[in-house]
Symmetry: C2
Subunit: 337 residues, 2 copies
């Protein structure tokens, strides 16, 4: 039904080879011929069939990006960075959501492997990287995103979460706070564990400083509110004066709980609060929240670059593993007027 190169060739009075040349190597075709062919293309509304091209070429012009949660601004911002770079290279990005579900992730990966995508960027759900290794062994480059150190045989882009935790804790300590609380969990999430570890190390450097651990079941607003209530209850007796939350959703929930109720705590005077991720809602909270910022778009763009490098990589050559450093965005929740 749709027009093919053959139809275009017939209409323009040239061979299919010439049509293909016009499409892909216009420089090697006489201008008059190019015009003839272009006219035929326009008249027939010809759109090249990607499947046929790909079948012949053996590889597609698309890369896949599988993220844990498309609802999370962190990942959508990252995707933006990837897409920008990919577009510059003439590739398109297929965005897929694993929803933190290993089965979904696998399903997407299988689809993409059948598609023979150019490469796969993935922030893996679990620790089992076997499916990714299989795909890679079959010739599709894989880059891990937001997941660093586990397996050195994968190229990866990540952020130094331990350093991020340290930055947050140091900021609180520099402000003179000594009775800290860490809110986050579950601890099996590597990011959470790393941020905690980094913070603990800083606290241990300062004599007289301590940090209590409040575990949450998830990194959500609701869990933040629950933790906040628990915190408020114990704040007066324990004299907490600084709180570090493992991400901004938690921090926002905590802030609400602390500011509400019969005896609200003042932020930052009584309790200083630091979050993580620097999502827009953090800056927009009642008391804008100091947060640890990650270079989201840069992470996405870099992941794409590693994919290209991975493609051109020689057999023995080691894989690249980029680790970014986070930085602190200071706001009223720690240095309020």
């Amino acid at each position: 039904m749709a027009a093919s190169v053959k139809d275009v060739a017939a209409r323009a009075g040239v061979s299919v080879g010439t049509v293909s040349n016009v499409l892909n190597r216009p420089g090697s075709v006489k201008q008059a011929t190019v015009d003839k062919v272009d006219r035929a293309i326009a008249e027939l509304g010809f759109v090249p069939n990607g499947a046929a091209r790909q079948l012949r070429a053996g590889i597609s012009r698309s890369i896949a990006l599988v993220v844990l949660d498309v609802g999370n601004p962190f990942f959508t911002d990252m995707a933006r960075g990837t897409e920008r770079r990919a577009h510059e290279e003439g590739l398109s990005v297929l965005l897929a959501n694993s929803d933190e579900n290993a089965e979904h992730e696998l399903r997407h990966l299988e689809t993409f492997e059948r598609q023979r995508v150019f490469g796969v960027l993935v922030s893996p759900v679990g620790d089992d990287l076997a499916p990714l290794r299989r795909i890679r062994d079959r010739g599709i480059p894989v880059v891990l995103v937001d997941r660093g150190s586990e397996d050195p045989t994968f190229a990866s882009v990540s952020v130094d979460d331990e350093a991020g935790g340290a930055i947050a804790a140091r900021h609180l300590l520099d402000l003179g706070r000594r009775r800290l609380a860490f809110v986050g969990g579950p601890l099996r999430i590597r990011q959470v564990a790393d941020r905690y570890r980094g913070a603990v190390a800083e606290v241990n450097k300062v004599a007289g400083a301590s940090m209590d651990f409040f575990e949450t079941q998830a990194l959500s607003l609701d869990e933040g509110r629950l933790a906040g209530l628990a915190l408020r209850e114990r704040a007066r007796t324990e004299h907490y004066d600084g709180v570090f939350a493992a991400n901004d959703l938690l921090a926002i929930g905590i802030e609400q709980a602390l500011l509400g109720g019969e005896e609200p705590l003042s932020i930052p005077h009584e309790v200083a609060l630091v979050g993580y991720d620097d999502i827009s809602f953090a800056a927009a909270a009642v008391v804008p929240i100091t947060s640890v910022r990650q270079p989201r778009e840069l992470i996405g763009a870099t992941a794409f670059d590693l994919l290209l490098a991975e493609r051109d990589r020689d057999e023995g050559q080691p894989r690249e593993r980029v680790i970014f450093q986070p930085e602190l965005a200071v706001r009223a929740s720690t240095i309020g007027s």
Copy 2:
């Protein structure tokens, strides 16, 4: 390099036709043969080439979903609904972000047309539906999402924004509020205009009720805060007792502005506040915000169903146009203790 059906056939000692049958019509092949072939597939790590299959079949197993903003929870929830239904039908969803940019949208559409996708779901950036019409005329079903009435020749799924505006206003009026303010803009966004129109109609039904219009430049947190400051300034003299915001981001910003400063206004006692979209941050605000809820996942799922209907549609048959009714989620910002 990668194994093909031919390799599998050779290894299993059968013909390529049989391998294809095992893959697509396993019922028509003897069990013993199926086993042989399956073993060969496993041994070779064979993964069918999607491009070849699609070339032969003429159509792909993927549908495209082009949204205005992947960062907006409304669209990601919608995407979830689409994906669920698509998966049930054995199709996969390619998610693309137009970023409210007509050029990006066009680029994605072109890619998808070359890909010969099964169909396209799109929440169009602008009013120019010509590119969509062109694609549709070339045989790819198109369904408009979150965009109703303009062009009756497109199948579409949308929500009755005028009814939503009416619900919000009626709720405020039922609570006895008479001096209302509408915050939203720009008015060229159809959703905003419709919500405003619906609200105005309700206000006009009640003697002694009035509603002022506060225009914003965007539907963002920041714009909400600005509008909130303007509101607070005039609230005491104008005696506003009810505010309806065109979406939740605005409402959250407004709430912050009203609650802050030297002379905070109390919510809902002095001013009742209603938002729109019912995003999770609305329920999580300091004073949880009453909001007009849209069936986001259902919208996405329904859009997919319309795509299937569109595909099976006979020439003369009219296209389906589904319009959902929104509902009110009442919270503390209007009926606080």
